[in-house]
Amino acid sequence: MTSQLYLSGVSKSFDGFKAINNLSLVIDKGELRAVIGPNGAGKTTMMDIITGKTKPDGGEVFWNEKVDLTRLDEADTARLGVGRKFQKPTVIETLSVADNIELALKADRGVLANLLARKTPAQSAEIDRLLELVRLTDERARPAADLSHGQKQWLEIGMLLAQDPELLLVDEPAAGMTDAETMRTADLLRDIAGERSVIVVEHDMHFVQALNCKVTVLHQGHVLAEGSLAHVSADPQVVEVYLGR
């Protein structure tokens, strides 16, 4: 089995503060992985490094065992197949819901190609399918600003899927969702995994439980424990720094 993502000995400090400290992590192709950890554990910085937003001070980050992600920027990694969902839902507020999906659809990202682009029937159909999937068909013509918080989360997930990524980085998808929506999100992510690799950063333990996958606990920028949720929950160190509080 080849790895989708391989991090080894990665470090990054900001003004002396070690956000990531000798972090090593391997995600297999098609794997669903939950990453948990207290605030400041380095979860967001880890995602910034994977997507090329932040350059690490040291260590290796490899994609498919051959592409060095530390040399790429956000647009490069996105084109390579990394899709990222932010903690705070980030959609393009003044564009319509359907246009948000259209911009995310996998297509030529060049300037001229976009100036001359025409929406193909296949693309229209794909937009319809994704809107159906994230239950926003009725809202398609409304500006994204009009959506509720939970709907924006869903729209962003829809945009992520429209990119057709190999790896999804999902930052606290359940924040601001009702219990029913949270469970539906967990179902969706489980469905996606297998075909694509998924890393979910989450605080909500019920949600992590529903994901039913391998869990990585981050603490002070490195991996504290790894295994099933039951396994890491039983780890005394984890209990001390995180779960026990």
Binding site: E74, I92, T94, S96, L103, R109, V111, N114, L115, P143
Partner: protein, 365 residues
């Protein structure tokens, strides 16, 4: 395609523009008693060039969020390129009668034409420079600024510094652009006497056509998929990067197109007013363009053009009635619009018209 470009607001504006473009020359040249005086033709032509400049700024600011406080520089560079051609056209009719050197160079005891004046005797070369010089400056400036991810107020400040630096440079006689006095005393354009009513009317029509063309080009860009990417950059730049769009390329494209449009506006402005001088680079001019766009309605194109015309018209009227009040009125207009009409005059009018209809997105798709 036509339906995509011409929505109700664009259609109405172009219809009014067409009527004015026909009526003004007819009133000036054909009708007995000359109901439209010649100075009004030049004045309206000047308004049109301002309107085109406003559309250029709206393209980058309204749609892509690049608040340029230096767009006057691109306008002035276009104006200077045209001015250089008009200077060469003077030929032996200058005060010193030198067949090659413009008067100011003879006055400065220059022996020969500087290399960067070569070629400007050709109208078409000058026309190419009208677009290429502002375009090249925008490209180089944008290349460095956008790649370094300079955004927001920092970008605005360096655009302001850019136009200020150019103003200081153009004030110097050594630069070879007439220093303080700029370029003036033009005689004719393409063989037509610039003092003749027919020529003035021709320039007026040229300004109107350029405005219409500028609006349609800008509309083509903003209604394309690229236009949606621009809005995405404006509203959520980081998100757009994570979608795989190389944001700096899109910014650079629209900034260069906008600078060229501003250059064309400046090129028509110069023969209409008969002079181009370094004052056009003044930072205050560039800030005023922002006021036009905000007042008319940012992100609407047509609104920007209307805003420019409203401000220019008010200035003409007020500076003749109460000259000392003008700057207070301009400042007051800006504050009023910011506080009361967040979507500008056009936004307020349209909102009034569709008060009972369902809310629609600000940017039409």
């Amino acid at each position: 395609m036509l339906r995509r470009l011409i929505d109700t607001r664009m259609g109405l504006f172009l219809a009014v523009l067409f009527v004015v473009t026909v009526a003004v020359p007819v009133g000036n040249l054909v009708m007995a008693g000359q109901p439209v005086p010649s100075y009004v033709v030049a004045l309206l032509g000047k308004y049109m060039t301002y309107a085109l400049l406003a559309v250029a700024l709206d393209l980058v600011w309204g749609y892509c969020g690049i608040l340029s406080l230096g767009h006057g520089a691109f306008f002035a560079l276009g104006g200077y390129a045209m001015g250089m051609h008009l200077m060469r056209e003077i030929g032996t009719r200058g005060v010193y009668g030198d067949p090659v050197l413009p008067d100011f160079m003879v006055f400065l005891n220059w022996e020969e034409l500087p290399w960067f004046w070569l070629g400007f005797d050709s109208f078409w070369f000058a026309m190419a420079m009208v677009m290429l010089v502002p375009g090249a400056l925008a490209f180089v400036f944008g290349w460095f600024a956008f790649r370094s991810r300079v955004t927001g107020v920092y970008l605005s400040i360096i655009t302001q510094a850019m136009t200020y630096a150019l103003m200081l440079a153009f004030f110097r006689n050594e630069m070879g652009f007439g220093g303080n006095n700029g370029l003036t005393d033009f005689k004719d354009i393409l063989g037509y006497d610039l003092q003749a009513d027919q020529t003035r009317a021709g320039l007026f029509v040229a300004a109107a056509i350029a405005l219409a063309a500028g609006l349609l080009v800008a509309r083509y860009i903003t209604t394309s998929k690229l236009g949606k990417v621009l809005v995405a950059v404006r509203d959520a730049e980081s998100r757009t990067r994570f979608l795989g769009y190389r944001v700096e390329g899109f910014k650079l494209f629209v900034f260069v197109v906008s600078a060229m449009m501003a250059g064309i506006a400046g090129a028509i402005y110069t023969p209409l007013v008969g002079i181009i001088n370094p004052g056009e680079f003044s930072p205050a001019n560039s800030i005023e363009i922002v006021i036009w766009v905000a007042l008319g309605g940012r992100g609407t194109l047509v609104g920007a053009a209307i805003g420019a015309i409203i401000v220019a018209l008010s200035r003409t009227l007020l500076t003749s009635w109460f000259p000392e009040l003008w700057l207070f009125v301009l400042g007051g207009m800006f504050i009023l619009v910011t506080l009361v009409l967040p979507h500008g005059v056009l936004g307020a009018v349209e909102q009034g018209l569709r008060k009972f209809r369902r809310r629609r997105p600000l940017v039409e798709n």
